[in-house]
C-alpha cells in the first residue's frame, strides 16, 4: 500500500519546529512590526496624497501637471487591473474597453455641451447628414452622464464576466477573450464614424460641466479630481484587500477548486473583482478625457490595454501601490522617452517589461517586503504576489 510520505519531504518548513512558533502570547498583540504592517499602508497613502495633492500642484508647470493628471487617470484603470489580475488571477487584457466606455460617455457629454442646447456635435455634420443618433440624447444631462460612467461598465462587465467566468474560462483563454473584446471595441468605434467620430475620436471640447476648459484654475481642478480619485481608490482597495473578501479573492486565485469545497462559488468571487475593475477603468477614462482633450480608438484598443497591463506588471500586480506607481512611471517614461526617441521608446519599454517579468515577477513593489524581511516581523498577513502557485488541490489520480 502506498503510505504517501513524499509530501512531508518537500514542505517549506520541514516540520513545524516549536522554536519557530511565536510564544503563546503572540496572538494579536500589537508589536511595532505588526502596527507597521497594518498602518504602514495608510501612512504611505498619506504620503502619496501629500505628493499628488499638495506638492505637485504647487511645484509643477501646467503642462507637467496635465501630464501627471493623465497618468493618474490611467492609474485608476491600472488599480482595477491590480485587483482583477494581481489579486484575482484574471489576466484582463481588454481593460481599454471599460476605460473607453467611461471616456466616451464623458466625451459625448462634453461634445453636446460644446454644441449648445439642442445642438448637434460638429463632426456629425462634417461626416454625416447632421442628424444625431437618439442614444446620444440622454448624454446631454450631466447627472445621466455620471450615472452612465459607473453603470455602463458595471452592466457590461457583469454580463461579459458572467458569460466568461461562470463557464470557468480561465488562464490564456480568459486573456484572449478579453483581448478580442478590445479589438472588437476599437474596430466598432472606427467603423461608426458618424456616431462616434471614428478613427479621429471625439475632441475639440470647450467646457466640462459648465467650466471653461481653458481656464488654468479649472485645469488645476481637473488634475485635483484625478489625483484625488487615485487617493480615494487607494483607500478603497486598502480596505478591500484587508477585508474578508480580499482574503477570499487571493485564496480563489491560488486554489480555486479548494474554495469550491469550502462552499463558495469561485465564479461569484471573481465576478465581483472583474466588475469593480471595470468601473474603476471607466472612471479613469472619464477623468482622462477633459484633461487630455481627446479620446480616440487608439486610447482604448488592444495595445492601449496592454500598455496599462505593462505598467501594472512593472509596478507589481498584487501590491496595493505597484499598479499606481507603475502607471505613473510608464506614463512618464513614455512622454519623456518619446520626445527623445520617438520610434525606439516602445522597444525600451518592452525590454524593461521583459527584464522585470524575468528578474522580478512580483514587480518593483515586491522589493519592499524583501527589504522588510531583513527585520524580524510577523508577515503572515500579507498575501504574496500571484506567481507562487499553491496547491491545485485536485485529488491526485493514482497512477
Amino acid at each position: 500500500m502506498t503510505l504517501t510520505t513524499t509530501r512531508s519531504a518537500n514542505e517549506p518548513g520541514g516540520g513545524a519546529d516549536p522554536a519557530v512558533a511565536p510564544p503563546a502570547h503572540g496572538r494579536r498583540r500589537a508589536s511595532p512590526a505588526r502596527l507597521l504592517d497594518t498602518y504602514g499602508s495608510l501612512i504611505a497613502i498619506g504620503v502619496i496624497a501629500v505628493v499628488l495633492l499638495v506638492w505637485a500642484p504647487s511645484s509643477l508647470s501646467q503642462f507637467r501637471l496635465d501630464n501627471l493628471g493623465k497618468y493618474c487617470a490611467l492609474a485608476l484603470a491600472s488599480m482595477g487591473i491590480g485587483l482583477a489580475w494581481g489579486r484575482g488571477g484574471m489576466l484582463v487584457l481588454g481593460q481599454g474597453v471599460f476605460f473607453g466606455l467611461g471616456a466616451y460617455a464623458m466625451a459625448m457629454h462634453m461634445k453636446l455641451e460644446a454644441a449648445g442646447p439642442g445642438g448637434v456635435p460638429d463632426f456629425m455634420t462634417l461626416y454625416g447628414d447632421g442628424t444625431m443618433p437618439s442614444w446620444w440624447e440622454p448624454f446631454r444631462s450631466a447627472p445621466f452622464t455620471i450615472f452612465a460612467i459607473v453603470a455602463l461598465p458595471a452592466v457590461v462587465s457583469f454580463i461579459l464576466g458572467y458569460a466568461i467566468v461562470k463557464r470557468r474560462v480561465k488562464g490564456a483563454y480568459f486573456a484572449i477573450l478579453t483581448q478580442a473584446m478590445a479589438v472588437a471595441f476599437a474596430t466598432l468605434l472606427i467603423a461608426t464614424i458618424k456616431q462616434t467620430g471614428g478613427f479621429n475620436g471625439l475632441n475639440t471640447f470647450s467646457t466640462v460641466f459648465g467650466h471653461n476648459l481653458f481656464d488654468p484654475e479649472v485645469k488645476r481642478n481637473l488634475y485635483r479630481v484625478a489625483a484625488g480619485l487615485v487617493v480615494v481608490f487607494l483607500l478603497v482597495l486598502w480596505q478591500l484587500y484587508r477585508s474578508r473578501y480580499g482574503e477570499l479573492l487571493v485564496a480563489t486565485r491560488d486554489a480555486e477548486e479548494r474554495i469550491r469545497f469550502l462552499g463558495y462559488d469561485p465564479a461569484n468571487i471573481k465576478l465581483v473583482a472583474f466588475v469593480i475593475a471595470a468601473v474603476m477603468a471607466s472612471i479613469g477614462g472619464a477623468v482622462f478625457v477633459p484633461i487630455a482633450g481627446i479620446i480616440s480608438p487608439t486610447n482604448v484598443d488592444a495595445s492601449a490595454s496592454i500598455m496599462l497591463l505593462a505598467g501594472v506588471a512593472l509596478g507589481g500586480r498584487a501590491s496595493l501601490f505597484g499598479p499606481v506607481l507603475g502607471a505613473i512611471a510608464v506614463g512618464y517614461g513614455r512622454s519623456t522617452l518619446s520626445e527623445t526617441f520617438p520610434t525606439q521608446w516602445t522597444y525600451f519599454l518592452g525590454a524593461l517589461f521583459i527584464v522585470v517579468i524575468v528578474l522580478l515577477p512580483g514587480g518593483v513593489a515586491s522589493l519592499w517586503p524583501k527589504l522588510r524581511s531583513r527585520w524580524p516581523s510577523p508577515t503572515a498577513e500579507t498575501p504574496a504576489n500571484g506567481d507562487h502557485d499553491v496547491d491545485r488541490s485536485q485529488p491526485a489520480v493514482p497512477a
Binding site: M1, A16, S243, L248, F261, G263, D265, A380, A384, D391
Partner: protein, 255 residues
C-alpha cells in the same frame, strides 16, 4: 452502534456508478452512512474510494442516487453540497499556504456569513474559529502561515476547516498517511472527540489505525463493496483476506 437509532441525517447511497469512458471506477455501490460513528472506507489502491467521494461531492458525475436530507447529491454543484453540510479533504493537503492558520479557518467559516459582511476586515476572531483552533491544537500557531506547518498539522487544519464549516458529513481522504505514529494517535483521538452526531468517513490504508478507531468498516475492491461490518467481522471475511493478501501483503501484515 448505539447512536444509529437516532440517525436522521444519514446519507444513503444507492447503486452509485462512476463511468470513466467505459471503465467503471465505482460500480453500483450501495452504502448507508449513519450519524455518530467513525466509518472507515478501506480497499487496495484503485479500489474507487476517492472516486466515490468525488462523486458524492460533485467533482465527478455519477449515476444512481445519494440522498441526504431530501437532496440528491448527484444533481448538485460542489459548493451547494458543502453548504448542505457535507465536507471533504483531499488526498494531497490543500490548505492555503500563504494565509495564516487563522485565515484558513476564517475563510472556511465564511460560508455561514452574509456576503455583504465580507467587505469588513476580521475584527475579533469568531467563536467558532476560536473553538476549532483549540480542538485541533493549533491555537499557538494561529498567526503563522499555513505553509510552515508540519504535514500532520496541515491535516489537522483541514479537519478544523471542516469543523468551522459545521460539516455534518466529513470525508477524510487518507488523512493519517505520512503521519508519525504519535500524530496518528492524536488524529484518532481528535476524530473521536469531534464525531458527536456527525458522520465521519475515514479513507485509510493503515490497518492498525483502523482497528483502533473504526466503529464500522466498508471494504471496497474494483469499484464495488466487498464487505461491510465491524472490524472483527471484516477481518474474518475470507474475501477481504484474499484481496489484501493477493494485492497488498504489506497492509494485512502491517502491525
Amino acid at each position: 452502534m448505539t447512536a444509529s437509532f437516532l440517525a436522521e441525517d444519514y446519507l444513503e447511497i444507492r447503486d452509485l456508478t462512476v463511468d470513466f469512458d467505459g471503465f467503471k471506477a465505482v460500480d453500483g455501490v450501495d452504502l448507508t452512512l449513519l450519524q455518530g460513528r467513525l466509518h472507515f472506507l478501506i480497499g487496495p489502491n484503485g479500489a474507487g474510494k476517492t472516486t466515490l467521494v468525488d462523486a458524492l461531492t460533485g467533482l465527478v458525475r455519477g449515476t444512481g442516487g445519494a440522498k441526504f436530507r431530501d437532496h440528491d447529491l448527484l444533481t448538485m454543484k460542489s459548493h451547494m453540497i458543502v453548504r448542505l453540510g457535507i465536507g471533504r479533504t483531499f488526498q494531497t493537503a490543500s490548505v492555503f499556504e500563504q494565509l495564516s492558520v487563522l485565515q484558513n479557518l476564517d475563510i472556511a467559516a465564511g460560508v455561514h456569513r452574509a456576503a455583504r459582511r465580507s467587505v469588513f476586515a476580521r475584527g475579533r476572531v469568531p467563536e467558532r474559529v476560536e473553538q476549532a483552533l483549540e480542538t485541533i491544537g493549533l491555537a499557538d500557531l494561529a498567526h503563522r502561515p499555513a505553509g510552515i506547518l508540519a504535514h500532520g498539522q496541515k491535516q489537522w487544519l483541514e479537519v478544523g476547516m471542516l469543523l468551522v464549516q459545521d460539516a455534518k458529513v466529513m470525508f477524510l481522504d487518507e488523512t493519517v498517511a505520512g503521519m508519525s505514529s504519535g500524530e496518528r494517535e492524536e488524529t484518532g483521538e481528535l476524530l473521536k472527540r469531534i464525531v458527536g452526531d456527525r458522520t465521519i468517513v475515514v479513507i485509510e490504508h493503515d490497518m492498525d489505525f483502523m482497528r483502533r478507531y473504526a466503529d464500522f468498516v466498508t471494504v471496497m475492491h474494483t469499484g464495488r463493496v466487498l464487505a461491510e461490518g465491524t472490524v472483527a467481522e471484516v477481518q474474518a471475511d475470507q474475501r477481504v483476506q484474499e484481496v489484501y493478501l493477493g494485492t497488498a501483503t504489506e497492509a494485512a501484515t502491517h502491525g
